[in-house]
Amino acid sequence: MTLPAKAFQRWLQGIAPDASTADVCRISGIKRTTLAQQLVRGKVSVSTVVSISRAYNVNPLSALATFEAYQDLAGPQVPPTRCELVSQVSTPDILRAVLARPAMEPAGSGTASPPLSAAPHATSVKNWVDAIDDGEVRHRVSAATGVAPQNYSAQLTANRLSPELALATALAAGVGPAGGLVATGLITEEEAGWPPGARQAALDSLSDGDLTALAGDRLQALGKVLRRQEQDQAQTEKIWENLG
């Protein structure tokens, strides 16, 4: 869902009263045609607002909160849960963390692992939803937004989630409203108010067993995706071979 152009103009007046559209585009790095088109259609995308607020040093989260559809983002920031934090650690980082544990490799410990790569990662959206899902979240999101469950799943599989679905998911799961926006890469951890080092701390707080099990789950999911890709690839090759 997009933001109404009228509300957008009002908001833009508030943060950059004298700036022309051209100025705004230049400063925020948005293509002029893109913004013009969004304004003509009366639908401004959420990422436009995020880019502009970054350019004008406004927190994107509070900028979004001024729009009616995203007013749930206002108010005191809810700290992320440990599950959410861990879900935003990429699979390679998790595997490195496993190998750094003395329980895994008693001899090889001692090498400090490199800092975690920034969120989002290749499966961050799906991992985030899985982390906060009590088993019923998808149904509740579907009921609240009217988005069909299969469309929702398709977005997750593609590691995508529209901002309003990300917000609806967070609300349905009862976690901080900004978590999904971080997982989808719309805003950074810092902009969402996640303390620096929080992901590393969450990762470190996992017991050897939990961490290893988590790594196992991630690898299994990755294996499934890779195998499916290989099958698709093999099938395509076969078609080329016979009909190309």
Partner: protein, 245 residues
């Protein structure tokens, strides 16, 4: 209108066949070149002027029509083999090349020849239209002959249909799925030709449209797969991330 459809189908098919010559010389999937070549000849033989010319050379007893039927059989047989192999439809492949497929082909071919030689076929006429008007007996025989000629392509296309529907709904490249949809449409069109005897004569144009739709769908579908391959080999195999579907 029908003339335009006929000649443009011929042109499309002929161009694709010509375009496949280089790869056929290189030895890549020669049978695909044969399919397009056979289809081109088949379309040529179904147009009045070239048909009459060729049939006169063959003795003027409409042997060209019988030839046309077998050319169609050969083309559709190869299409069936290639498509089932390519799309990994093993059971469909067995239905075409296995005992069932051979029995169907044999029975239909025999029926076709028996019916042909029972007719009084003197006088070249595309689609045997003039032959059919000669007598009541000839009219009935031409109807049966036509039905037999459509039966084998219909059998193959019905065998292919489930695999094509599966391919359309799969995660294969988009162009391949579009091609599968075209092949499925062509298959449905060919199956519809079985209903022609029940079609009132005033809808004759619809028969032409369905016939050529079928041929065009098959030819374009096969050409599209080829195009998809060319495209995929040209765009260097881009590194795919593991979340991409």
């Amino acid at each position: 209108m029908i003339e335009i459809l006929q000649w443009s189908t011929l042109a499309t098919c002929g161009l694709i066949a010509a375009a496949r010559v280089p790869s056929a010389i290189r030895g890549e999937n020669r049978s695909l070149f044969y399919i397009f070549g056979l289809m081109t000849v088949a379309i040529l033989l179904s147009i009045e002027a070239p048909y009459v010319a060729i049939d006169q050379a063959l003795g003027g007893i409409n042997l060209a029509n019988l030839l046309l039927r077998f050319i169609i059989f050969a083309a559709i047989y190869f299409v069936g083999i290639r498509v089932t192999r390519g799309f990994g439809a093993d059971s469909a492949y067995r239905l075409i090349t296995g005992k069932a497929g051979m029995v169907v082909l044999l029975v239909i071919s025999l029926a076709l020849m028996v019916l042909f030689f029972m007719m009084d076929t003197v006088g070249s006429s595309a689609g045997l239209a003039a032959v059919s008007e000669k007598s009541e007996r000839n009219f009935v025989l031409v109807e049966y002959y036509g039905a037999a000629g459509r039966a084998y392509p219909a059998y193959i296309s019905l065998v292919l249909l489930p695999a094509m529907v599966r391919a359309v709904r799969s995660r294969l490249p988009l162009l391949v799925r579009v091609a599968a949809a075209l092949l499925a449409t062509g298959g449905v069109a060919i199956a519809l030709t079985l209903l022609f005897p029940a079609v009132p004569p005033e809808w004759g144009a619809a028969e032409f449209v369905i016939n050529y739709t079928a041929v065009l769908c098959f030819v374009l579908g096969l050409a599209l797969i080829w195009a998809a391959r060319v495209r995929s080999s040209r765009t260097s195999p881009a590194k795919r991330t593991y979340t991409e579907k």
